[in-house]
């Protein structure tokens, strides 16, 4: 029981890190609260539905597809929304309302086109590509994708695949931020926007890239949402946003490893509460969020709070 809860917590936690990391990046670079974050997750899930129903292939192929689509739409959206917002009196507060409006638009459009019914994907479809490769290239025998054994406990294969993909994605974000030129500039903008601007960094270009990558990561996480949460509706976005906030706040801002840690802590707590106190599990993210905001107000997310 305990081992199961812990391992499941780590698997979910890695996935939760992926859920939160895009939000972290957008807030860190632009000081913009992307309340539509969860809706991009939801749209990623719809890309997965599209890949399965239209092309009939492994939903894993939706991962690169969703990332590219939302990277590009993020760049577009950035130029439409953000420069105007940054010019207003209080961009941080207004961004909450602006992106709330965006999330309403996304939810409404998705509802108009796809209806409000719950959608899910058969979990055995995820990862069929590995079976095919095994059979075609190595001449292995197709075996049913049963649960994967870890420490003598069986876990559903999609959980493990989602966790591994998340780990890879987080590693790539790390490489982007610490090993590429654009990533170095991004970190410069994160720490001091004004000084970055003064040293001649094209802040808009860096921010646009971060915004696109943030949305891309959200949709990428969304591809696995039908497997991790069972089913997805257009209204799924709002809950996902709050959960993402809890995760981002748990970790620290501007550091992908921080969010990874936050996600894992969150996942383990979630699974432990779910196992031992299931009726109170829904409360956990919110209470955790409030306590962390209150107990570590200074330095939290790398931003000083107003001293009253």
């Amino acid at each position: 029981m305990l081992v199961y809860a812990l391992v499941a917590g780590v698997l979910f936690g890695l996935y939760f890190s992926l859920v939160g990391i895009g939000l972290n990046l957008v807030f860190g670079v632009m000081r913009i609260v992307n309340l539509a974050h969860g809706d991009f997750l939801m749209l990623g899930a719809f890309v997965a539905f599209g890949v399965v129903t239209l092309a009939g292939i492994d939903p894993l192929f939706a991962v690169p597809l969703a990332f590219v689509i939302f990277l590009l739409s993020g760049l577009l959206l950035y130029w439409v929304l953000v420069p105007r917002l940054q010019g207003s009196v209080n961009p941080e507060m207004l961004s909450i309302i602006l992106f709330f409006g965006l999330s309403q638009v996304i939810e409404a459009v998705t509802t108009i086109f796809f209806g409000t019914s719950e959608r899910s994907i058969q979990s055995r479809l995820l990862g069929t590509v590995f079976q095919t490769i095994k059979v075609k290239l190595f001449g292995g025998k197709p075996d049913g994708s049963g649960p994967i054994q870890i420490f003598g406990q069986g876990f559903p294969a999609p959980w493990v695949i989602a966790a591994v993909t998340s780990l890879i994605a987080i590693a790539l974000v790390y490489v982007y931020l610490y090993r590429t030129r654009l990533g170095t500039l991004t970190r410069a903008v994160m720490s001091r926007r004004d000084e970055a601007l003064a040293t001649g960094i094209d802040v808009d270009r860096v921010s646009a890239a971060a915004f696109g990558i943030g949305l891309g990561l959200a949709s990428l996480a969304g591809v696995f949402a039908p497997f991790m949460f069972g089913s997805v509706t257009p209204a799924f976005g709002a809950d996902a946003t709050v959960t993402s906030f809890a995760i981002v706040v748990l970790g620290s801002l501007g550091n992908p490893l921080g969010t990874a840690l936050g996600g894992v802590v969150y996942g383990v707590c979630y699974m432990l509460v779910q196992t031992y106190l299931s009726s109170w599990a829904d409360l956990l993210p919110y209470v955790l969020l409030i306590f962390i905001l209150l107990l570590r107000p200074s330095g939290l997310l790398g931003r000083r709070v107003r001293v009253a």
Binding site: V33, L102, D282
Partner: protein, 306 residues
């Protein structure tokens, strides 16, 4: 005539009079009641967001707490509705007191923490483990106190008190001090303003307003579920209505509610998703092109808007 009297006479009195007379003329009583509730909530948001700059994204937490305060008084103590409404207001204030530490947070953190707090209260109330006290997720039914006409009158009283509070804030040195704190807390405290005390008073006042509105709402509808009275729509609607008209004014939130909630009732009920789309686009357009609300159309021309 002092401006405080002028505002009361030319804004508050006509508005209350119109809503007092309308039920005799117009049949849809529930719709009028909802207008009164949203006018109250929008002004409550105005008190905390307009005058102190804290965005209460989980404002519905107080509203729902007030509704459940009312329900518990009626269910377990068989108290008369009026007293139960007052208790609802007190429950709102108590929750506000519990959440005062959140005022230490700034900007977006406050908004997010407040949202999380309202969801935490929802999950607490809706928890099946507390079925004996709150009836958990199964909802409450208060047929004993059901009386729409009295509840409507009570809602008007709450609205009057709220408007009076906003008129006071608009015309007093206290309101001016609050706005100074909103603009620059450090300078305001240098000028001798007691920053923390002022913020806490405004915060509790807006919690009281929402708690009373929640109590009245519970009285009026008499059968409801946690998801109804803790619906995030209440916070969002109240915030957007207030912002649409223009905060830190008396008339702004009123104009916002009448226009936007009117539009909602014209198209919202038949095709909710199209309303949601229009609503979302409207919010985005508002933030991008008119961040200070409709009243800024007038103030830009140099007209004074109360």
């Amino acid at each position: 005539m002092p401006s405080i009297l002028r505002h009361l006479l030319f804004i508050v009195v006509p508005l209350i009079a119109v809503f007092a007379v309308l039920p005799g003329v117009y049949q849809n009583h529930l719709l009028l009641f909802n207008f009164v509730i949203f006018l109250t909530l929008a002004q409550g948001v105005n008190i905390i967001y307009g005058f102190t700059g804290y965005l209460p994204f989980g404002y519905v937490g107080f509203f729902g707490a007030g509704a459940y305060g009312f329900a518990i008084m009626v269910m377990h103590y068989q108290s008369p509705a009026i007293i139960a409404v007052l208790v609802g207001g007190l429950v709102g204030v108590a929750l506000g007191l519990l959440l005062t530490p959140l005022l230490r947070l700034s900007g977006a953190y406050f908004a997010i923490a407040n949202l999380a707090a309202s969801l935490a209260v929802l999950h607490f109330v809706a928890n099946p483990a507390l079925e004996n006290i709150t009836r958990g997720p199964y909802g409450v039914s208060l047929t004993g106190t059901f009386n729409p006409n009295d509840a409507y009158a009570a809602a008007l009283v709450v609205l009057t008190l709220t408007l009076a509070a906003v008129v006071y804030l608009k015309n007093s040195s206290f309101g001016l001090a609050l706005q100074a704190v909103r603009e620059d807390a450090v300078s305001a405290s240098m000028a001798g303003v007691s920053v923390v005390k002022m913020r806490v008073i405004a915060w509790l006042a807006s919690a009281l307003v929402a708690g009373l509105a929640g109590g009245v709402y519970a009285w009026y509808v008499s059968v409801f579920y946690p998801d109804n009275v803790f619906s995030g729509d209440f916070s969002i609607f109240a915030i957007v209505f207030a912002l649409f008209g223009g905060v830190a004014t008396i008339t702004g939130p009123i104009v916002g509610v009448i226009i936007l909630y009117g539009v909602y009732n014209l198209i919202g009920f038949t095709t909710p998703q199209y309303f949601q789309l229009i609503y979302g686009l409207l919010i985005m357009g508002l933030v991008l092109f008119l961040p200070a609300g409709l009243v800024s159309l007038a103030t830009r021309r140099g007209w004074h808007v109360p």
